[in-house]
């Protein structure tokens, strides 16, 4: 122990003696370690942001949406969409059947369309959300001014519209919009409500949506009978998985899908609980973090090679000292240990400085993110970030220090003394 402390002291002296060289040596490692901390912290920050945004939709819901069935698991859904395949099997009859399930409190159905809204000379390209009246009870969106449409209005294909906050401002500015008419597909729709500002979540800007009754968009605008999705409000989130399975069974039955193995790939719909949604998002974040870490590890390896290079220079510079130590009784292990400890010390110091830098940078990133609208971004440095940084630094110190240390240990004392 005493010898190790002595060796550490010798190594520290050597590092202090060559301040500039030491600084340059550790710089690469410091940046690498700081990046590890930042990536872990940003990963945790993004995850907290996503979780909080998903939770803002409500944890007591289940989502059912159309998808293109496939014979094998994979991404045929996106390919089908590109090829223009349309799934029209999901409809309001399904909604009626699903609403009979014990754990389902209520369901709203929806379909999306892209249309232009006109008011006087103002035109606005808008995402039209055709939804059933229960939307306002299940979704977290709220009415700011006026009201949402009723079930009766939906059934009577009423020409009413509720504007998102941004659309209202763009078309009407500060003037009152309630009761006025906007043109949609050359037809006038009366504005009966303005939504409360909600902001963007997971890439969707709710304030840029306009809401009209589902049947109105189906019959008057799109000429279809099907829906794209349903959102079910549930009573008990504990049994959400069971409810999701019940939904699948009913839909398979309704859509005549022969799927005895319950293979989700064969279905023409996808049922997702919020827990699954969060797990899925968590997995995506985890993979992105891992990918970034893999890139950073390459930079750390480059930093490690720098350390190895400098260790070779140090061994070369201190050849005479190695010869002397051997003459005075140091064996190969003593010399090897001395240079290994020195190498580990260099990388350990890099880890310490890198962690400090990484924590400061992560904190700044979280402040910048919060200031730029990502209020749910939390400043978190997971313990695994510190462990990874320290482990990697010590392992790279060992790995990249071992060859120079072996070179030192193998030096012939007589040749070394002559240097």
């Amino acid at each position: 122990m005493n010898e190790i402390l002595k060796t550490i002291s010798i190594a520290l002296k050597a590092m202090k003696k060559n301040k500039i060289r030491t600084s340059l040596t550790i710089l690469g490692m410091v940046i690498g370690v700081a990046s590890v901390i930042i990536v872990f912290s940003a990963g945790a920050g993004i995850e907290s942001l996503i979780v909080s945004q998903i939770q803002s939709f409500g944890t007591d819901i289940i989502q059912t949406e159309i998808k293109i069935p496939s014979n094998k698991k994979g991404s045929d859904n996106s390919l089908g969409i590109v090829q223009g395949v349309q799934i029209t099997s999901l409809n309001l009859d399904d909604l009626k059947d699903l609403n009979k399930l014990a754990n389902i409190q209520n369901t709203y159905a929806g379909i999306l369309g892209q249309e232009q809204l006109n008011y006087k000379n103002e035109t606005k390209a808008t995402t039209l959300m055709g939804v059933t009246a229960s939307f306002i009870d299940i979704d977290k969106s709220e009415i700011d001014i006026g009201r949402f449409f009723t079930d009766a209005e939906d059934k009577s294909l009423a020409k009413v519209i509720i504007l998102g906050n941004k659309i209202k401002n763009e078309l009407f500015g500060n003037s009152d919009a309630l009761g006025k008419f906007v043109k949609l597909n050359k037809t006038n729709y009366q504005i009966i409500g303005i939504m409360k500002e909600r902001g963007a979540m997971l890439g969707m800007d709710f304030d840029e949506y306009a809401y009209i009754p589902l049947r109105t968009i189906q019959k008057r605008i799109m000429g279809v009978d099907h829906i794209l999705y349903m959102t079910h409000g549930i009573y008990n989130t504990e049994i959400a998985e069971n409810t999701a399975e019940e939904i699948r069974e009913i839909l398979r039955d309704n859509h005549n899908i022969n799927n005895p193995d319950k293979d989700a790939a064969l279905d023409d719909f996808r049922v997702t609980t919020m827990k699954e949604m969060m797990d899925m998002m968590g997995t995506i974040t985890k993979y992105i973090t891992l990918l970034l870490l893999a890139i950073i590890i390459i930079s750390l390896i480059v930093g490690g090679v720098g350390v190895m290079n400098i260790m070779y220079v140090i061994v070369s510079e201190r050849t005479s000292e190695i010869g002397l130590r051997k003459a005075l009784g140091a064996n190969k292990s003593n010399i090897m240990l001395q240079f290994l400890i020195e190498s580990i010390l260099v990388t350990f110091l890099s880890a310490l400085l890198g962690i400090i830098l990484g924590v400061i940078m992560s904190y700044l990133i979280s402040i910048i993110a919060t200031m730029n609208g990502f209020k749910e971004w939390e400043f978190i440095i997971p313990i695994k970030a510190y462990i990874t940084a320290f482990l990697f630094s010590i392992i790279s110190g060992l790995l990249f220090g071992v060859y120079p240390a072996r070179k030192a240990a193998k030096l012939d004392p007589i040749t070394a003394l002559r240097k």
């Binding site: 010898e3 010869g323 002397l324 130590r325």
Partner: protein
């Protein structure tokens, strides 16, 4: 008997590029002797010192150190023996830079199996070579003569059986050189075995016995009749 070599041969290189340095040397050295190994450049005196000091291995022959056949020892065993039984004094001092006098003297103790009282031992030895006032000086803050005395103190700190001094006055002015030789002389008077390697006759004559080498062979091995320093001269070692 401290050292016994028989038909010691040393060669470097392999096959066609062989350089033969020592051609079969035989002699013995007893405890307490002060021996000078002399010879011109290329005579093999340094090679002989390296082999005797266990820094190098012989090619052929036999070498017994305190009755032990050292040719059978591995590198770690040789390092241990060097640490415990042998002290080295080099022409270039070989003190660690940016390290204090005390730390330099303590260096062999770092590899010793005796883990106690390193500082006290080093201080005591430094006081015995009149460097008690230089303990915390850095090695670049002291004179050449003092540096060599530090090197001698370092050689003595593990209480070795023999001290090898390789041209110990080679880098010193005559006054400092004389002081260093007096110190070695006094150490010998106290019972320490000294083996001095030099090409200077004047320096060699401080020894009791001179082994002269030429072209890898012993050309003379005899006692010194005309010792330059009498035993009653100023004693530096207390």
């Amino acid at each position: 008997m401290l050292i016994k070599i028989q038909n010691l041969k040393k060669q470097y290189g392999e096959e066609e590029l062989i350089t033969k340095v020592l051609h079969g040397l035989s002699f013995t050295i007893n405890q307490g002797e002060f021996i000078s190994i002399m010879g011109p450049s290329g005579s093999g005196k340094s090679t002989l010192m390296h082999i005797l000091g266990l820094l190098d291995r012989l090619t052929k022959g036999q070498y017994e150190f305190e009755g032990q056949d050292v040719s059978k020892l591995d590198d770690n065993q040789l390092a241990k023996l060097r640490n415990e039984k042998i002290g080295f004094v080099f022409q270039a001092f070989h003190l660690l830079p940016k390290t204090t006098v005390l730390e330099n003297v303590m260096l062999p103790l770092a590899y010793s199996s005796d883990k106690k009282n390193h500082i006290a031992k080093a201080k005591k030895i430094l006081e015995s070579v009149d460097l008690g006032h230089r303990l915390n000086y850095y090695s670049n803050q002291i004179s050449g003569g003092e540096k060599q005395r530090v090197a001698i103190a370092r050689a003595l700190v593990n209480n070795p059986s023999v001290i090898f001094a390789d041209e110990p006055t080679g880098n010193l002015d005559s006054k400092s050189g004389k002081q260093v030789m007096e110190l070695l002389q006094n150490l010998n008077d106290q019972g320490n075995t000294i083996i001095l390697v030099t090409h200077e006759t004047q320096t060699a004559e401080h020894a009791n016995r001179i082994i002269q080498l030429k072209d890898g062979l012993i050309v003379n091995d005899s006692s010194v009749k005309n010792k330059r320093i009498a035993k009653n001269e100023k004693i530096l070692v207390k």
